[in-house]
Amino acid sequence: MGETIIQARQVEKFYAQPNGNRIQVIAPTDLEIRSGEILAVLGPSGSGKSTLLRMLTGLAAPSAGEVLWHGRPVGAEPPNVSIVFQSFALFPWLTVLENVEAPLKARAVDPVARRKRAIRMLDAVGLDGFEAAYPKELSGGMKQRVGFARALVVEPEVLFMDEPFSALDVLTAENLRNELLELWQRQSMPTRAVFLVTHNIEEAVLLADRVVVLGKNPGRIRTDLQVPLPHPRDKKSEPFQNLVDYIYTVLTRPDEAPAKAPSGRPEAAAPAPRYPMLPHARPGGVAGLLEMLEDRGGRSDISKLAEDLGFAIDELLPIVDAAALLGFATVAEGDVEMTAAGREFAAADILSRKDLFRRAAFHNVALLRQITRALATKRDHSIPDEFFHDILDEHFSEEETVRQLETAITWGRFAELFDHDAKERRFYLPEEAAEVDRA
């Protein structure tokens, strides 16, 4: 591999709490972007993929550690990089041409040269004839083409992409991916490296020379592997499928050190998370998953399941995690399998399901147990949010704390363990439970 362009040395991101605690978003991490490679970063939501991208581009400063650009710290001078954004981030009041010209304008390129370069770039991405259109007149795929043209027109040394295809439909995304690969392989752009953030495993294996898998809580590198397959890559081929399965296995077992990759070497492993985290899934989603599994004889490959459902891994994993946490399923080797409790749940009617869910939740989920017990001990069976908020605050970021509580409320309501009053911002035991308790 080529020389190192960007190097992150022990970068980390944390938020200091007023009480002296730290919310660690990204643990100290080393990462290099080398010339000539497409580097893909994969990870569940909350693993700090986007934060990492922002630190590497100089958009966000790391809390500790440093990012070097050709050996010199970024910040001293802006690195020559561009970003393609998930939401396209086009200026809706500028025409396609003006959007692509904007970065050149910022570099004080004179108007004639600016126009010429912008038009040439628009041609390269297949947008000739659309110069005078406004972004809102274009389809999603066309908008992202403008996003690519705008990013490439400044001839960045490293092109960063933040889930560039995830807002597009499947076919458009596939088409754009291939065109990007073509531009890259023809070396028709002066860009020397590409950094791609994605949650789509196939996309990563299809495009990247190197895949870095992140874990969460805190975000950290779990494995860093080479993809030695030659282009064009065949998605149906066995080596391709093996790599995809391997990465699925790594992602679905967040608490285990990754096994050796089928072709590549794991580089890093990190400590287990400290406080059990509720996966953000709804009880209805868990029930749906279990019914689906029952139809498939109680066991299925997770990647197969995701593909059949048209889900991204990010969307399916929390549901699988939830089923596993509740003891309704187990996860092994990239497969998910129902347990006896899971079979019982899938076969039950709605009322018994609530019973089973209540028992499983109370038994397996620490946060729900804590809330229920705390409510039972209070005389008026009611406790303000703040109380649990403060407990969770010790372990999670503000945003995650709120999401944890929201999920706990959804589960607690379904299980009829407790209820929540959004106006008063208090948890309380439902009447029945409270009365039983008093008697």
Binding site: T57, E77, P78, Q86, A89, W93, L94, A102, Y134
Partner: protein, 576 residues
């Protein structure tokens, strides 16, 4: 064969039309130039000791022009200030909480109670020139209209999507480019709508300013407001009708020639990913867009100049990155802070000494007056709600009715209430009534429209499937109102009531105390206390009453409207 001549004709008519547009634009430029000359000559002239306001309708075009120029200058000042203030509040983390709190309070202070102070200050600043009184009026309109614009721009800046902001950073936009390609476009729509509201409020204050008399000093300014007041004082119905016609004419003209084109133009700043079916059009904007002269101007002069400026800032940014600003900036900031604190301390001390001179009787009287005005404002809001809620819902639910009623009510609402005061007073006096009840009527005049328009908007926003569900389940009238209509319009109603109550407090200053036909009409009330203290130069009472009024408005906002707002946002928000 047949097509060719047709094509030819259409081309030639296109050319002729384009020349016509150019002619029109030329005329407009010349007209603007002579207006500037005219105004300049008038401003530099010696002040008129006691303004003589003619009642001849022939003077109306000139008077309208004077009023318009005042509004325009105050508006431009407001726009510049609002953008600067919003910018500072959004980006200066240390100043932000202070600036936002200040905004909240300044929005609630009854501007009209500053009228005397501002007038006296401006006249002494420019002795011997008409410009002093003019500036007083302009400053006053400015303080009345700037705050909501500033707040709108501030909140636009705060809500710019993160990725757009990051794009402008990663591509290295200079502050200049960021402002014109990201921040200003993003805030444009909010600024346009708030500008319309502000200018409507500006007319309200301008009318009051133009009629202003302080004790035996006559500060009246030649304009539409003073014309109407003079006409009503003299009981000249003909002149009154002329004045009102001119007023409505000016407002309709402004709507067609300024706001419609601006709204149509600002359509492109809508932050949407998909083109909406409905777009607003404006013939005036089409005219400007088709003008050859403007096009050439844009290509030859504006665009190159703009380019030069943009490049200057882009190059400067490249150089600036290398060395960061030194400690001087911080020292200057600290010094400025100390200076502001010193001025505040001095002012506070001065005010405190003024207030200490007040007797208990004065304070008691002011408090009683405050109570009376409070009840009057409440009554005005209640009466306004009583008729506007059913009317608004009826208009909102029946598109055919809306097509007739909406333009009519818009015209009615656009006439500033203060312009109608003299006319209405004449009627009250002739009917033998006093200001006690009459002032409620006057408050109602200005404030009911806010409620009406908001209720109409709320009724339109109720989804039709909810309405259909209500019919399907055969809701009775009472149930329909209780479960569908009232909750549906609630957030809009609250917004309308907040604006209306602010307007009513402000109106009380003009409505409870009035110079009319050579005598003073007044009633008990906080507004009357403010006005009479102004008249007799009792600045201690004026200060006390102003503070009481501001405290009341802020207090009601915090204790009544804000909780209702929160309720509206959490419970009664209809999300699609």
């Amino acid at each position: 064969m047949i097509r060719l001549p047709l094509l030819g004709r259409s081309v030639s008519s296109e050319g002729a039309r384009s020349a016509l547009y150019d002619g029109l634009v030329f005329c407009a430029i010349f007209a603007a130039f002579s207006v500037v000359l005219l105004i300049g000559r008038y401003w530099m002239a010696a002040p008129m000791p006691a303004a003589h306001i003619s009642r001849s309708p022939g003077m109306l075009p000139l008077y309208s022009l004077y009023s318009l120029v005042r509004i325009a200058i105050a508006y431009v000042l407001s726009l510049v200030f609002a953008v600067g203030y919003g910018y500072l509040a959004a980006y200066n983390r240390r100043l932000q909480p202070f600036l936002i709190a200040l905004l909240d309070i300044l929005q609630s202070i009854p501007v009209l109670s500053f009228l005397p102070g501002v007038m006296l200050a401006m006249v002494s600043l420019f002795p011997g020139h008409q410009i002093g009184i003019e500036l007083g009026a302009i400053v006053l309109i400015f303080t009345g209209q700037v705050w909501n614009m500033a707040f709108s721009f501030y909140s636009s800046l705060r809500s710019i999507p993160r990725e757009l902001r990051e794009a402008s950073r990663i591509f290295g936009f200079s502050a200049w480019q960021r402002f014109f390609q990201l921040e200003l476009p993003y805030g444009a729509i909010g600024l346009v709508w708030n500008s319309m509201v502000s200018v409507a409020g500006g007319w309200f204050f301008l009318m009051a300013c133009e009629m202003f008399v302080l004790g035996n000093r006559d500060f009246r300014l030649p304009g539409l407001g003073s014309y109407l007041q003079t006409a009503a004082s003299a009981g000249d119905t003909g002149a009154m009708l002329w004045g009102l016609t001119a007023m409505i004419g000016v407002i309709v003209l402004l709507d067609q020639a300024v706001w419609r084109p601006v709204i149509a133009w600002s359509d492109k700043f809508k932050f949407e990913q998909v083109e909406s079916a409905h777009t607003s059009g404006s013939p005036m904007l089409d005219l400007l867009r088709r003008s050859r002269v403007l096009e050439v101007c844009q290509e030859r002069v504006v665009a190159p100049l703009w380019e030069l400026l943009g490049r200057h800032f882009a190059q400067r940014r490249g150089r600036e990155d290398k060395h960061r600003p030194g400690p001087y900036g911080r020292i200057a900031a600290v010094l400025a802070g100390v200076l502001v604190l010193a001025v505040l301390a001095w002012g506070g001390e001065h005010a405190f000494r003024l207030l200490r001179g007040l007797g208990r009787a004065d304070i008691g009287l002011t408090m009683r007056a405050a109570g009376v005005t409070f009840l009057r404002v409440a009554a005005a809001l209640a009466i306004a709600s009583l008729w506007t809620i059913p009317a608004g819902v009826a208009i909102g639910f029946h598109p055919r009715l809306a097509r007739i009623a909406q333009p009519l009510s818009q015209i009615a609402a656009s006439v500033p209430a203060t312009a109608l005061f003299p006319v209405l007073l004449l009627a009250i006096v002739n009917a033998g009534g006093g200001l006690g009840v009459g002032s409620i009527l006057l408050m109602l005049l200005g404030t009911q429209w806010y409620i009406l328009f908001n209720v109409i908007a709320g009724a339109i926003a109720i989804p039709s499937d909810l309405k259909e569900a209500a019919s399907l389940f055969r809701f009775g009238t009472l149930d329909r109102w209780r479960t569908l209509i009232l909750p549906g319009i609630f957030p809009y109603l609250v917004t309308g009531l907040v604006t209306a109550s602010g307007g009513a407090w402000n109106a009380s200053i003009v409505a409870e105390y009035f110079h009319f036909q050579g005598r003073i009409l007044s009633t008990v009330g906080l507004g009357a206390v403010i006005s009479s203290a102004t008249d007799s130069g009792r600045f201690d009472t004026l200060l006390l009453a102003t503070i009481v009024m501001a405290a009341l408005v802020v207090g009601v906002n915090r204790l009544v409207w804000r909780p209702l707002y929160r309720l509206a946002e959490t419970r009664y928000k209809l999300e699609t």
